[in-house]
Symmetry: C2
């Protein structure tokens, strides 16, 4: 496995990687969710690249950029074990030199949910992904369904701007108790961690009602909210049931819907979602 720190070297090395190339962009501090993306990329491509870069432009000024957990040594061992050929680990100065001032923005879709809660977040995500896609030139890039809105935003960007790659979205990977995996779990104390299972339980409840034929979105939202509210440590930020294309909140679900939610435990925001279809 080769480790590359500069854009020039990554572009040079790219020319030697057999086609097709699968790419897994990450912010490091990897868990089984990330590794499932690498395994899928390994299955579907002749070569696999990953990146580790905690992208400052997708964090708001009061968010956890400085504190975001990092463990590059462990990440590299996990990536090698999963069959990665090249890991791109640029510095912030390499990706954002002085006077950097170009941005890629997706409208509408980024105004709701995570975009409403984190105003510059998606601009940071789409800009860094554009840069990484131009540097790595993958055939396919792999993202987790955990960040459901991010996946929709990146698919929209690739379609609108005619980028030459496919965005592949892979299923949420969960802990044994059902909590969706996240690098930010390290922020939770024991009690919060136990309480966090209520997100998955609430989603299961909604899925069961859906399977029984419930199509009233407000009723489904209420079931989720009431279940999570039983946990005194949980602060619900939003519970959304929206269409899967432009994320408009629904009253009645006619075909499919994205049920997504954010719940805070202390300062930690946990995301989870499911597609009702």
């Amino acid at each position: 496995m080769q480790i590359v720190e500069t854009i020039t070297e990554m572009k040079r090395l790219r020319l030697q990687l057999p086609e097709p190339l699968g790419f897994v962009p990450t912010m490091g501090y990897l868990h089984e969710g990330h590794i499932s993306l690498v395994r899928r990329a390994r299955e579907e491509n002749a070569s696999v690249a990953a990146s580790i870069f905690v992208n400052p432009t997708q964090f708001g000024p009061t968010e956890d950029f400085e504190d975001y957990p990092r463990d590059t040594k462990r990440d590299l061992a996990m990536l090698e074990e999963a069959g990665t050929d090249v890991v791109f680990t640029p510095s912030v100065a390499e990706m954002y030199p002085e006077r950097f001032s170009s941005w890629v923005e997706v409208g509408k879709l980024t105004e709701r949910l995570e975009g409403a809660a984190r105003p510059i977040h998606f601009r940071g995500v789409t800009t860094i992904c554009t840069k990484l896609f131009n540097i790595v030139e993958p055939t396919r890039a792999y993202f987790g369904q955990k960040d459901a809105q991010q996946a929709l935003v990146l698919k929209k960007m690739v379609a609108d701007l005619n980028m030459n790659l496919e965005i592949v979205v892979c299923p949420i990977i969960r802990e044994p108790d059902g909590l969706s995996m996240s690098s930010r779990h390290v922020y939770l104390n024991q009690e919060q961690r136990w309480a966090a299972v209520s997100l998955y339980q609430a989603i299961k409840l909604a899925e069961e009602l859906w399977a029984q034929g419930e199509r009233d979105a407000e009723r489904l939202r209420q079931v989720v909210i009431e279940h999570i509210q039983q946990q005194p440590l949980a602060e619900i930020e939003y519970v959304s049931i929206a269409d899967t294309e432009i994320l408009e909140e629904l009253e009645t679900i006619t075909s499919s819907a994205l049920l997504s939610l954010v719940v805070r435990f202390g300062k930690t925001r946990l995301l989870d979602n499911t597609i009702l279809k």
Copy 2:
């Protein structure tokens, strides 16, 4: 010469074009300025592509999108004559399907001069160029120095977003009397057309003073303004002397500077510039 109207067909055809590929994006109604770009592309590359697309998103709501001159038959004959291999002529619906909502924006550099006069202009230019670059995948793309700020903005975008092509900027091509060529000359009546030569004359005056050692930017601006003001049909929009990197207005020129100006004749805005170095 092949003419291609769809993105899918252009991407397919691209795979057959020998490397390196030179690309000349245009809005059609071609003149010798455009053709000089095609000739340069022909000299420097194994294959040459051009595009004709009057890009609606770079026109403001009160600007001349509807009236912009079009003559595709003549354009195609000129491109073939100059040695173009492929011309991409997509429709507006092909480039901007319903619900299109992704944009590429370059900050700072786009706030001044043309960006100040035409608020959404550069966002339209950078977005359509990103799309065209992703569709055509050129090795080099050719632009005229006539639109000096556009050339700087596109170079900045390519550098910031790590795009895999080179922006080549080619000299201004002028009419026999010195007027810089523009598709918008068709809007001028005879008297305006005669008066328009004052732009070039004023630039020559400034260049002469510069050659004699004048480094006071305000003095140079005044010479240009006073000369053009002798033409009663000319309305000066701006005369700028700015640094050639971020277009900040200068008081004293220490190394080089971009002298650029916009003068209106009726509704028609004419641009001209020179680099003092």
